[in-house]
Amino acid sequence: MKHAYTWAAILLMVTASVTGDVLLSKAMKQVGDVGDLWKSHGIFRVIGSVLRHPLFALGIAAMAIAFFALLFGLSWGDVSLIAPASASLTFVGNMIAAKLFLQERVDRRRCIAVGFVACGVVLLAF
C-alpha cells in the first residue's frame, strides 16, 4: 500500500509540474520577450505584467501542488526513487504536453535530447 501511495504522489507531482511548466511557458510567450520589454518599458512594468497574467498565477498554483506532492511522496518513499523517477517522467511529460498544448515542433533532435536527459537523471540516483 505504501508503494502505491508513493507512485500516486510521483504521478501527482509529475502531472502538476508539467501543468505548471506549460502554463508558465504559455504566460511568458504571451507577455513577450522580457529583454525587449525591459529595454522599452523598464523592469517594474515587465514584472507587473508577468505577475498580473492569470496563467502565471495558475502556473504557480500548479507548481505549489507539485511541491507538496513531493513532500508527501518523500514521507512515504525513498528519495532515491522519487527524485529521479519524478524528474525523468517530468521531462517526458513536458515534451508531450508542449507538443499538444503549446504547438511546439518537437523534432527528432529534441526527442533524443529529452530521452538522453531522462535516462541520465535516472542513472544519477545510483
Binding site: 510567450k29 504571451q30 529583454g35 503549446l102 529529452v114 536527459v117 537523471v121 542513472l123
Partner: protein, 149 residues
Amino acid sequence: MTFRKYLVLVGVAVFGSVGDSLLSRGMKDIGTISLTHLQSLVVALANGWVLGGIVLLIGFFAAYMTALSWADLTYVLPATSIGYVIIALIAKFVLHEQVTTARWIGILLITSGVGFVAGGPALTPLPDDSASDPRKEHEPELASLRGHS
C-alpha cells in the same frame, strides 16, 4: 541566439543547482523537520546557507521565466539540465561525496542531451494559422502596453 540569451540559460542551470546545494547544506544544520513541528521551518530561514539558497532560487526563477519568454519549453528544459551535472561536480569536488560509475554515465548522457538540443533552434516556427499562435492572441494587449512607452 545571442550571447546574452546563452548567459540566461547558464543562469538557470547555475542558480538552480547552486541554490539547491546551499539549501541542502543548510538543512543538514537544521536536521529533520516533521509535519507535527512545522515551526522548525521558520528557524531554518535564519540559517545563512538556507537564505543564500533562497536568494539564488529566486534568481533561478527570474532567469527561467526570462528564458521561457523567447524559447520553447522543450528547448529550455534539456538545455538547462546541465545543472544536474553541476550538482554532481559540486558533490564530488566540494562536498567530497562518492560519485559512482553509473552517475558518471548519467552525467555523460545528460551532457549529450544538452549538446543535441543546444545545436538546434531555440524557438520552433509556429503553425501557419495565426489563431493558434499564443503571441498573436494577446497582440492587442501587448500593443497597448507598447503604446505606454
